[in-house]
C-alpha cells in the first residue's frame, strides 16, 4: 500500500497524524464512558462499605460459573477483534471480516448467558421493583446491591449490544473492501470501544460475582 491510497483530510499533514487524531478523539470519548460507569462503581463502593454483609449475601445470589464463562467469552472476544484488526493491517479482508463476525457472535453469546441469569433472578425473586421476596434484616440493604447490579449490567449489556451492531457493520464494510492497512480508523475505534466494554466487565466480575464466596 502506498501513502497515496490513503484519504488524508486537508487539516492533517499525513496519514499518521490523521490516524493519531482519530485514536485521540476515541480515547476522549472512552474517558466519558469510564466516568459513566465510574459513578456506578463509586456508588457501589460507598454502599458496600456501609452494608458489607448485605453485599456479600447479595453477591452469593449471582451465578459464579455463568459469570466466569461470561468473563471468558468477553476476554476471548477482545482477542478476536484484536486479531481482526491485525489482519486488516496485514492487508487481509476475508479472514478479518469473519473475525469481526466471530467477535459479534461472542457478544451475542454473552448477552444470551446474561439473559439466562436474569431469568434465574426472576425465578429466585431478587429483582427489586419487579419481583423481590427476600426477607430478614439484610433484605432492605440487599435491594441496593441488586439495583446497582441491574443498572450496571443492563447498561453494560446495552453497550455490548451497540458493540455487536458496530462489529457487524464493520464486518460488512471490511468484506466490501472499505479499508486498507493504512486507512482503517473506524475499525481501530470500534475495537477500542469493544475493549473498553470488556474492561468494564473485568471490574464488574470481582465486585458483583466474587464477594463472599469463601
Amino acid at each position: 500500500m502506498t501513502a497515496e491510497s490513503t484519504r488524508v483530510a486537508e487539516q492533517f499533514d499525513d496519514a499518521a497524524q490523521q490516524r493519531e487524531a482519530a485514536t485521540l478523539g476515541m480515547w476522549a470519548f472512552l474517558a466519558t464512558e469510564i466516568l459513566f460507569f465510574g459513578v456506578l462503581f463509586a456508588a457501589y463502593t460507598v454502599c458496600r462499605l456501609l452494608w458489607p454483609d448485605a453485599f456479600a449475601s447479595g453477591s452469593r445470589h449471582t451465578d459464579l460459573p455463568l459469570g466466569t464463562v461470561e468473563t471468558a467469552v468477553l476476554l476471548t472476544s477482545s482477542f478476536t477483534v484484536a486479531l481482526a484488526l491485525r489482519d486488516v493491517q496485514l492487508g487481509g479482508r476475508r479472514v478479518a471480516a469473519w473475525l469481526f463476525v466471530a467477535t459479534a457472535t461472542l457478544g451475542v453469546v454473552f448477552l444470551a448467558i446474561h439473559g439466562v441469569e436474569y431469568h434465574a433472578d426472576y425465578e429466585a425473586a431478587v429483582i427489586p421493583g419487579l419481583r423481590y421476596e427476600e426477607v430478614g434484616p439484610l433484605a432492605p440493604a440487599k435491594q441496593l446491591f441488586f439495583i446497582l447490579y441491574y443498572v450496571t449490567t443492563l447498561f453494560h449489556g446495552l453497550h455490548v449490544t451497540i458493540g455487536v451492531v458496530l462489529l457487524l457493520v464493520m464486518a460488512w464494510r471490511v468484506r466490501a473492501g472499505a479499508f486498507s492497512p493504512d486507512d482503517h480508523s473506524a475499525l481501530e475505534n470500534t475495537a477500542l470501544y469493544w475493549h473498553l466494554v470488556d474492561i468494564v466487565w473485568i471490574f464488574v466480575f470481582p465486585l458483583y460475582y466474587l464477594v463472599g464466596r469463601a
Binding site: 465510574g38 454483609d53 466466569t68 476471548t76 482477542f79 484484536a82 492497512p181 477500542l192
Partner: protein, 97 residues
Amino acid sequence: MSEKPPSLRAHVLALLALAFLLAATVFVARFHLGALNAFAGLAIAGLKALVVLFFFMKLKTSGTPVRFAACFGFAWLAILIALTLGDFLTRTPLVVH
C-alpha cells in the same frame, strides 16, 4: 506509511495471561482472606485491564498524547472515588448497620 501490526505471539500471550488471571481470581475468591479478598479481586482485575489496555488497545506502542488521554478517564475516576470516600468515611455514622 502504515503502522507496524502487532505480532500474533503478543496477542496469544495476552489472551493466555487473561485466562490465567481469570482462573486466579476465581481461585483466590474461595479462600477466607478478609479484606484481602476485595483487594485481590480488584488487583487482579487491574492487571487484566492493564493487559487489555497495553496489548489489545495498543497503549504499549501509542504516542504520548493518546497515552495521556487514556490516563485521564481513570485518573478522574480515581479522584471521584477518593473524594466520595473522603466524605463517607469521615462522617459520623448515620446509618445503623
